[in-house]
């Protein structure tokens, strides 16, 4: 059952000051409303994983590992590989994270990242089929939040994309219905590069890439996932407040603009590692 989260530990006076200054166009860390925090992307940080990447978004830190295996396809998609995305809010990342099975926040995070990848056709699942109906490649994307200073969705989506681009799978041969894996590797069939951009609404202001203090006071957030061609592939509203049609329009514009810079950064990080 989903329950209203308790108020974040922020003094009322601090809360009010934060909101008032954001409404005047000044953010707590000195950024302008449409300014993203500095992004650092490092690919291949976990060599044992088939693909990996760490993203620092200001002080937020997210690690994504990709593991690859063979398995059975889902019965309703016998000719497609399997993609599963999971997120762990690791207790070391925040005083509010607790050990245990994923809570609704972790599940929402994983499912929003999953939708961006799946709906944009980022992974060519058809190419990941080995024998229709019985053997396919299974790709596990595991999101590991290491330090939580806000905007986990964007940081996780960036890290997941970088890790998929960084991943290498074994080449194989079919010998009479037997799959023989070789010691040669090739990249995963990545066809699209979706980027998630989250904008928060605080009072009457819209700010991109909210940090944790801003998330504490936001009314609502809207994540827009944009593909290579500037088309919208996924959206998710969050938070206890509302948004208007006009605000949505501005948020989409923001996403279209910001996604291009970020996509470039992912590609640079992935190429640098090669």
């Amino acid at each position: 059952m989903s329950s209203t989260p308790s108020l974040q530990p922020l003094a009322k006076i601090e809360r009010r000051a934060l909101i008032e200054s954001v409404e005047k166009g000044r953010r707590i860390d000195g950024r302008s409303p449409d300014e993203y925090r500095p992004v650092e992307i490092e690919a291949g940080v976990i060599p044992k994983a088939e693909g990996s990447a760490q993203v620092k978004l200001g002080k937020t830190k997210v690690l994504v590992g990709v593991k690859i295996d063979v398995g059975e396809p889902f019965p309703d998609t016998p000719d497609q590989g399997v993609l599963t995305v999971n997120a762990e809010l690791v207790p070391l990342a925040s005083p509010t994270f607790e050990p245990g099975p994923p809570d609704e926040n972790a599940i929402e995070l994983a499912r929003v990242v999953d939708r961006g990848i799946r709906e944009s056709g980022a992974l060519d699942l058809q190419k990941l089929c080995i024998i229709p109906g019985s053997k396919v490649i299974v790709v596990f994307v595991d999101i590991y939040v290491l330090d939580h200073d806000g905007n986990l969705i964007d940081a996780s989506a960036l890290a997941a994309l970088a890790a998929l681009l960084n991943a290498r799978m074994k080449k194989y041969e079919l010998k009479k219905d037997e799959v023989v894996f070789k010691d040669k590797y090739e990249p995963l069939p990545v066809l699209n590069r979706p980027i998630a951009i989250t904008t928060a609404k605080i009072g009457n202001a819209l700010i991109v890439d909210p940090c944790l203090d801003e998330e504490y006071v936001m009314d609502a957030r809207l994540t827009v996932t944009v593909d290579d061609g500037g088309r919208i592939r996924a959206m998710q509203k969050g938070g206890l407040g509302t948004i208007t049609l006009k605000e949505i329009e501005a948020i989409i514009d923001m996403a279209l603009k910001k996604s291009q810079e970020l996509r470039k950064k992912v590609m640079e990080a992935v190429e640098q590692h090669e």
């Binding site: 059952m1 989903s2 329950s3 209203t4 308790s6 108020l7 019965p75 309703d76 994923p102 609704e104 926040n105 599940i107 929402e108 994983a110 499912r111 939708r115 799946r118 709906e119 944009s120 809207l222 593909d227 500037g230 088309r231 919208i232 592939r233 996924a234 959206m235 998710q236 509203k237 969050g238 938070g239 206890l240 407040g241 509302t242 948004i243 208007t244 049609l245 949505i248 329009e249 989409i252 279209l256």
Partner: protein, 247 residues
């Protein structure tokens, strides 16, 4: 899915300008609403939206259990979206799925802006949504029903919340997707709206839309939500103003 329950994918989702269930692109499915259908609940509603059959109960404001979930300055809203094991083609496990958990969260966030929770600090308001039969668009019909049940419970609301999905099938924007259209279409976008203020309380999307398509789609959904909001109003009137002179 076993072969027993398999449903063949339709070759075309739009034929001669009509959809798989015979509707026009901008046509809603038939909707029935009734409030006060359960005896024990403080508020309740039953919604039939096309082939969706949904029962909602509201309990509260009541004492918070366990105590630690209580909030000092307002009521905690709790929400459970759940699908009955027999509500889909193939039986589903009654244990809450990851999907159910995400939907419980977004539905709570869709209802919360409409409720004056500050009036009832340290209590809970519990919303239970049971999908008895599903055919696409259950989260939207669930929200529509939940808002009715909240009103039926006498909980002070700023506005109703009405919800409807819009999407794209065979390259065309269509209103209120059914299950087949959701599964085999190109985009699905559920929206919840407070009809009087025009404020959006839920927005999700998956699929493929250009910004122009998005703008048209959201307008279609907003109009539909307003219509559904009108039906909500009428169903409350039917229960509380029947035989009464004030209309």
């Amino acid at each position: 899915m076993s072969s027993y329950n398999k449903v063949e994918a339709p070759k075309k989702l739009i034929k001669n300008g009509l959809r798989v269930d015979g509707r026009k692109p901008e046509e809603l499915r038939p909707i029935k609403m009734e409030v006060g259908v359960l005896d024990k609940a403080d508020g309740s509603a039953y919604v039939e939206h096309g082939r969706n059959k949904i029962l909602v109960a509201v309990y509260g404001p009541r004492e918070a259990h366990p105590k630690h979930i209580a909030l000092p300055d307002r009521a905690a809203l709790r929400c459970r979206y759940h699908m009955a094991p027999f509500s889909t083609e193939e039986r589903r496990s009654p244990a809450p799925s990851r999907r159910d958990m995400e939907l419980s969260k977004v539905i709570r966030e869709a209802l919360e802006p409409s409720i004056l929770t500050q009036l009832y600090p340290r209590t809970t308001i519990d919303v239970f949504i049971e999908i008895l039969q599903s055919d696409g668009g259950t989260r939207c019909a669930g929200i529509t029903g939940a808002s009715l049940a909240l009103a039926d419970a006498g909980i002070p609301l700023k506005d109703m919340v009405a919800a409807c999905a819009v999407g794209k099938v065979d390259g065309k924007l269509v209103l209120d997707l059914n299950d087949l259209e959701d599964k085999y279409g190109e985009a699905d976008m559920p929206i919840a709206l407070m009809p009087n203020t025009g404020k959006i309380t839920l927005l999700q999307m998956d699929g493929d839309l250009s910004t122009e398509e998005f703008n048209t789609a959201i307008e279609m959904a907003v109009e539909a939500c307003k219509k559904i909001g009108q039906m909500q109003r009428e169903s409350i009137r039917r229960k509380y103003l029947q035989g009464d002179k004030i209309a």
